[in-house]
């Protein structure tokens, strides 16, 4: 899932600026699961903003609504009226949700209420960790299902570097060394020979380095046109 966390109330307030009618828009997918921007959080943020702006002596009209998926335009149609009526939309979606609103409603002023972090999973209650950097050319088949791009601090393909110690990364003892994890897993599966092969330089063109990416599925497009 996409993992995000809320900006501070102060930052949200400054992003809202002088606007009087504020619409907080939550999203029912990833950010609901990571407790950053679901219906519950949208209601709390709206209530907090109402209270904070009242205390500041400039009570704003803050309402909230949550769509099932902010990152798909069809789900945004249902809030078109509310968006039109608002001076500002505070999106509690990930960065994709914010942009989906901006693209779908050219007249709307939309600001982000979250900082979008990474693609990851919950490792325990209240902790999420990064797992994938969306590099566009997945090599997990060579590393025992542990991603060195997202999880090694240097994205090494032929690790571990000399900074690995006691299972953690040189950067920070809180970061497990991805290459120690890869080594341990391949070792336990009897596949250490995979580590003896030199992985060639990566084709970063498939990653963001090749410019903004797009996936085109002609099979699906044709079918859509036939409809």
């Amino acid at each position: 899932m996409i993992v995000a966390e809320q900006k501070s109330l102060d930052e949200m307030k400054s992003l809202i600026g002088e606007a009087q009618k504020v619409l907080v828009v939550g999203c029912g997918t990833c950010v609901t699961v990571c407790f950053a921007g679901g219906a519950r959080e949208a209601a709390i943020v709206a209530a907090s903003l109402r209270m904070a702006t009242r205390l500041d002596g400039n009570a704003k009209a803050v309402t909230d609504v949550t769509v099932q998926r902010q990152c798909e335009w069809e789900y945004l149609d249902e809030i078109a009226e509310q968006v039109r009526a608002a001076d500002v939309v505070l999106s509690l979606g990930c960065g994709i949700g914010v942009q989906a609103i901006a693209e779908h409603f050219p007249q709307a002023w939309v600001v982000p209420g979250l900082n979008t972090g990474f693609l990851g999973l919950p490792t325990e209650q209240g902790i999420w960790a990064e797992r994938c950097a969306a590099c566009g050319d997945c090599l997990l088949g060579r590393t025992g299902g542990i991603c060195p791009i997202a999880r090694c601090s240097k994205s090494l393909l032929n690790g571990p570097c000399g900074g690995s110690e006691g299972g953690h990364c040189e950067v920070n003892p809180d970061i497990p060394c991805a290459w120690q994890l890869i080594y341990d897993r391949l070792n336990s599966l009897g596949k250490l020979d995979l580590l003896l092969e030199i992985q060639p330089p990566k084709n970063w063109k498939a990653a963001r380095d090749g410019g903004p990416r797009k996936i085109v599925r002609e099979d699906l497009r044709l079918r859509a046109e036939e409809e």
Binding site: K154, N158, G163, L196
Partner: protein, 347 residues
């Protein structure tokens, strides 16, 4: 692609390659460029090192602190008549920048490169920087070796003219985790085309012997020149810091105790009563002991089959190199400028 010697029988003909090929026990040292644009710092350090090592590593923004570039400093070192080993990390440059810098380095007379991943920028003085890591150290070795042997850029296109010919080095950290994998990682660097290896600082001789035994079993010592990393301790505090806080560094208690013993005459004087002279005398006693230990370490690694030389890392203490090399009986350094290329062999 197999390493291709040039017409004189050497891969490159650098002094370091010649010394190693002639079977001498090689000595390399380290020169840290300044955090300034002052070339005289390099000249002074070069004067301290000239004549007591076969080549000197020029660090590349070591510990991610911005310093004069290794190639810029290396050009000065060449002018001073000392041979540089250019350190090149993957942290700050992508494959384009590395290649173009190496073309320039070759044109300026540099002939040895040490290929490193590089310390993460979070350690240095620009922790908010974006890093690169387009390649890793093994891919870098492969690229620099192919520039010389296949005469191609990383993309596969041939050079339009002279190819850069470097004696290619890589690092080894025998005691970094997972320790069992370290000889295999060294094997990967050899397979990638490394000609010489400089190891992380070695203090634990028995552990290093065990590492070298595995290296010999794998036949790696016959395919690559291994220079054991050594360095003088400066104080008991430095020894303890290395033991406790630097990954991949094992410092036996014995050396910490010896450093403490060297400072024993001052140990009973309360801290606030130590005069300036006392402090200086104590620092000198520590340094003296650090140099002694370093000399002993060199003598011990020299006995290990497959160790072709030492790499002396006296960080910001270049003055220590000459007494260490002299104490280890490794002066004068051999003059191999006219030596014909022989079959590779080791001490």
């Amino acid at each position: 692609m197999a390493a291709q010697p040039s017409s004189n029988g050497y891969l490159v003909g650098s002094n370091l390659e010649r010394v190693l090929r002639a079977g001498h026990f090689a000595v390399t040292a380290e020169l840290g460029p300044p955090q300034s644009a002052d070339g005289d710092v390099i000249r002074k350090k070069a004067a301290l090192l000239k004549g007591c090592c076969d080549a000197v590593n020029i660090t590349d923004n070591q510990t991610a602190i911005v310093r004069m570039s290794s190639i810029g400093a290396g050009a000065i070192v060449v002018q001073e008549g000392l041979e540089p080993v250019i350190q090149m990390t993957c942290r700050d440059r992508n494959r384009l920048a590395i290649q173009s810098d190496l073309l320039g380095a070759y044109a300026l007379g540099m002939r040895n490169v040490l290929c490193l991943s590089g310390d993460h920028q979070s350690f240095g003085n620009h922790p908010s920087a974006k890093n690169v890591f387009d390649l890793d150290s093994i891919q870098l070795v492969q690229m620099v070796a192919a520039m010389r042997d296949a005469k191609v850029f990383q993309c596969g296109e041939p050079f339009k003219g002279q190819e850069p010919r470097f004696f290619v080095g890589a690092a080894a950290a025998p005691f970094a985790a997972p320790v069992e994998f370290r000889p295999y990682r060294l094997a990967k660097k050899v397979k990638a085309g490394a000609n010489f290896i400089q190891t992380q600082l070695i203090y634990d001789i028995p552990a290093f012997k065990a590492f070298m035994e595995k290296v010999r079993q794998m036949g790696l010592h016959e395919q690559v020149y291994i220079l054991a990393g050594v360095g003088p301790l400066k104080s008991p505090a430095m020894a303890r810091y290395m033991k406790d806080s630097v990954p991949g560094l094992w410092v036996p208690d014995e050396f910490i105790e010896r450093m403490e013993a060297a400072g024993a005459p001052w140990a009973d004087i309360p801290k606030d009563q130590l005069s300036k002279e006392d402090k200086k005398a104590r620092a000198d006693a520590w340094k003296q002991e650090g140099i002694c230990i370093c000399i002993e370490l060199i003598q011990q690694v020299r006995e290990i089959e497959g160790v072709a030389g030492v790499h002396i890392m006296a960080i910001e203490w270049e003055e220590a190199v000459r007494p260490i090399v002299e104490g280890a009986g490794l002066l004068p350094r051999p003059d191999v400028s006219a030596a014909p290329a022989q079959e590779a062999h080791h001490d």
